[in-house]
């Protein structure tokens, strides 16, 4: 079993303990866990932690990974400079 102090989301500094507490409170969907712990909401947008989070949440609920609904993927695919978006400079 994962230790409480293990960091799951490095961008937002979210530990397994925080996620476990959310699960215990009854927030069992990934969308709820994201909103309540901020896991996956940082700079990498969950690209690093999504798979670990999915695996651990499934294991905690004794479900198969395929049974867990994924969070919404939001654009952009990778961070983009506002200046580039605005068309003022080259990235």
């Amino acid at each position: 079993m994962m230790k409480d102090e293990t960091i799951i989301c490095r961008c937002e500094d979210v530990t397994w303990g925080e996620i476990r507490k959310a699960l215990e409170k009854g927030y069992t969907s990934l969308n709820e866990i994201k909103r309540i712990t901020r896991a996956g909401m940082g700079r990498c947008q969950g690209r690093t932690c999504r798979r670990i989070l999915l695996r651990e949440v499934a294991r905690y609920q004794k479900k198969k990974i395929e049974e867990i609904e994924l969070t919404t993927f939001r654009p952009p695919t990778k961070p983009i400079k506002l200046g580039t978006l605005a068309g003022d400079n080259d990235d």
Binding site: M41, R43, P76, I80, K81, L82, G83, D88
Partner: protein, 381 residues
């Protein structure tokens, strides 16, 4: 699922949760919240996080001032850190017409005890150092405006309500509201039927369709609004920057991310569409880089959209429906539902339980549109 309830609230966002909490706090029992998705999955969790008191109508100023007072003690009251950050709102004016509207607004705000004041471009730059003053004639600043974490605030109300006995059903969609002779008999959901005589429509972007289920026409429509957020960077400035004529709002949040959006009533899609668009990101980036040029090297990490539930005068519609007894409306907030929820939730609870409210809201009834007594809010993004 429960078979019978005293009060059924449709919509588990900030309105529904605040109403439920305030009802339970006043001693009401057998309250149910029905949420088709999860808590704060709709507009409450998608909003811009800002809370302001600078408005152009007396009604909105009074409600917003009272709401801010509640926000100031909410972390303690609900025992959940909502991350209140009173960093101010700096509203910027670009035309003489806007300046004269702002002067009127500030007079009104000060007369009601809101600590807003006019600022010159020079003073604006003192408040927000990296500001590009091009085209700016002046503005207003209210230091006690600010932001909270809207997700935490909604969860805080939901959990506090449940501690007081409220039942919160997520993933439970209302399918029918059964009425007879101007009274409510029951609410049917995809998980079962609940007998009740009192229903609150707090369905935000979906309040129009919920009204139709009860056979009631509510003059609201939903419209997509979009937001983007950047990576966390070192603190650069604090207040929300907002303009009604240039149409933008953006702010650096306490965690360092910069969040912003604008309204586009003429081009944005109406209805339930909450996809994000590339056009929005490009236009918003242009607005941000123009006003704060050093943002050009800051990266956007995420964009999303939510729904404004628009009423004909951009003011909420509150109160019992005149043709359907026990059917209460808390809808049409037109983009200000999150920031007003602490006070409107309390007032709706008072209305249901006491038949009178501590702040008069009878002018915000649905009947005002038939009477032609609209209260147009001039200061909306």
């Amino acid at each position: 699922m429960i078979k019978k309830a005293d009060i059924v609230i449709i919509g588990g966002g900030i309105q529904g949760c605040s109403i439920a909490y305030n009802l339970a706090k006043k001693g009401a029992k057998n309250i149910v919240i029905l949420e088709k998705n999860t808590c704060a999955s709709g507009s409450s969790g998608r909003c811009g996080a800002g809370i302001r008191q600078q408005f152009g109508t007396k009604m909105n100023c009074i409600l917003a001032l009272e709401s801010m007072k509640t926000f100031e003690t909410l972390t303690e009251e609900l025992d959940y850190d909502i991350e209140l950050n009173q960093a101010g709102y700096l509203l910027l004016a670009y035309t003489e017409k806007e300046m004269s509207q702002f002067k009127k607004n500030v007079e009104l705000e000060q007369s009601l005890g809101i600590d807003a004041k006019m600022v010159t471009p020079k003073e604006a730059k003192k408040i927000v150092l990296p500001l590009n003053l091009e085209g700016i004639l002046g503005g207003t600043f209210c230091p006690t405006d600010g932001n909270v974490n809207p997700l935490y605030t909604t969860f805080a109300y939901a959990e506090a309500a449940q501690r007081l006995g409220v039942k919160y059903y997520s993933f439970t969609e209302v399918t029918e509201i059964e009425t007879k002779n101007g009274r409510i008999l029951s609410v049917a959901t995809d998980k079962g039927k609940i007998l009740t005589s009192t229903v609150v429509n707090a369905a935000g972007g979906y309040s129009g369709p919920v009204g139709k289920m009860a056979g009631v026409d509510i003059p609201v429509y939903s419209q997509r609004h979009q937001i983007l957020i950047t990576e966390h960077i070192d603190p650069m400035w604090k207040p929300m920057l907002m303009s009604f004529s240039e149409n933008y709002y953006f702010q650096q949040l306490p965690d360092g991310g910069i969040l912003g959006g604008y309204g586009d009533p003429e081009n944005e899609v109406k209805g339930g569409n909450i996809d994000s668009t590339w056009q929005f990101a490009r236009t918003m980036a242009k607005k941000m880089v123009k006003l704060v040029p050093i943002l050009k090297d800051v990266r956007m990490v995420r964009q999303w959209a939510g729904l404004y539930n628009m009423s004909p005068d951009a003011q909420p519609i509150l109160g019992e429906h005149p043709k359907l007894k026990g059917f209460y409306l808390s809808v049409g907030f037109s983009g200000h539902g999150f920031m007003l929820a602490p006070v409107t939730g309390k007032l709706i609870a008072e209305l249901i339980l006491d038949r009178e409210t501590s702040i008069p809201i009878d002018k915000l009834d649905i009947g005002r549109f038939e009477r032609g007594e609209l209260i147009h809010e001039p200061s909306v993004v």
